[in-house]
């Protein structure tokens, strides 16, 4: 599992490249900033679309995230550019969720992000592969139906590997609230999957 969490700057060539590009962008080199966009746009979209399961809204949120990063790049205080961009994207995704709350008449279309499946184990038989794919489809569908707060907390904790404290800081709530959102979200998912739990018990 690749980690989006902040890391210390080291001799990692990727981080050095990112910092160089950001420095050039801060000096007015738009091409350098756009190089960063090209490097991270797929990652940020993949992150945001789990939190905002509507492709158009997720795209708008990612675009806003890059706008925000460009505006705020003078405020970058070092560390990992990737983590910095991920945090901005998470904030943009939460803004998109708040916008959605104000227009509840348009629910998220069910299962927008249904295309990606984990790489199949080459040694697995077709039945197992098919079962795994079906499980992931069911999980994605359930995730898309729980509340935005619960989904954000579950995606960040279970999928992206942030810890409770980091999620609390990112979302501006207490650690207890984060835990509660995760627990209630899982409970809600179990309710949504109640007639398909055989898929997971096998």
């Amino acid at each position: 599992m690749e980690d989006l969490r902040p890391t210390t700057v080291n001799d990692d060539p990727v981080q050095r490249r990112d910092l160089l590009l950001l420095d050039r962008a801060r000096e007015g080199d738009l091409d350098a900033f756009n190089d960063l966009v090209v490097v991270y746009q797929d990652l940020l979209y993949a992150l945001v679309v789990r939190m905002v399961p509507d492709r158009d809204q997720a795209s708008d949120a990612v675009q806003e995230a890059f706008f925000s990063a460009y505006r705020k790049m003078d405020g970058f205080r070092g560390g990992s550019v990737r983590s910095w961009l991920s945090r901005i994207a998470i904030n943009a995704a939460m803004d998109a969720q708040r916008l959605k709350k104000r227009r509840p008449a348009d629910p998220y279309p069910e299962l927008e992000d249904d295309t990606w499946q984990p790489p199949a184990d080459p040694s697995a038989d077709p039945v197992t592969t098919s079962l795994t794919a079906e499980r992931h489809r069911a999980i994605n569908r359930a995730l898309a139906q729980i509340t935005d707060d619960q989904r954000t907390a579950i995606v960040l904790y279970d999928v992206e590997g942030y810890d409770y404290a980091e999620i609390a800081e990112l979302t501006g709530v207490s650690v207890g609230t984060v835990k509660s959102r995760i627990h209630r979200g899982r409970l809600a998912m179990r309710g949504l999957l109640s007639d398909r739990m055989d898929l997971f018990r096998g």
Partner: protein
Amino acid sequence: MADQDRGSDDPRLAAIARHALHDEELVTAFAAGDVEDPADLERARAFVERCSMCHDLQRDLVAIRAVTRASGTAAQRAQTHAAPRDFRLSAEDAARLRPGSPAARLGVRPGWRARLSAGVAAFGRPVGAAMATFGVAGLLVGSLALGGVPLASMGGAAASTAAPAGVDANSEVPEASLYRGSYGPLETAKDVGIAGGQSGGGGTTAPLLLFGGSIALLVVGIGLIVVARRDVGPISAQRGN
């Protein structure tokens, strides 16, 4: 038979009734390993050990969590799935987002066309509407004048520019002349001559000029409105997405 069915349901119903009193959130926290208080931990353990439904709940939550964790991080997904659009910033975006930045100063200073276009987009419609209104009013006044109704009869300063053709400045004119402005009757044609002569003795020239000018105003006004409407397109179209 019915009694037998009811009898077989009773233990299940009793289990459901008992489970309804159990704290599912506590079991959920227990399944996640998040219960820290020893008393709560003991209570959760008891639920899971003694209640089959709490036991199922814990097992299901663990399974759901495992599948969720394996559903692919953003980094894994990004390796095989590209974003649906290109999020690179245009020079205009850069100038808008950081107006004082070197990129904005060097790259995207708007030219006269852009400035004109922005001006038209901002003020074209109200200015165009005002011009078209004046044009229509001018056309009305001009057509009345050309149609033989003397402007003086309509009163106001316009009267002085609209002495009709064929009026002899030296001839006597009856007191009840048509050339009667709002400032009182003109006694003689001499007075009329003075009034008409101030416009340069235009005769039909003034109404024609008014007529032509009004048409020009109307055309320019309508043109401005049309151009302004064209310039104010949807944001998505302007961004080229």
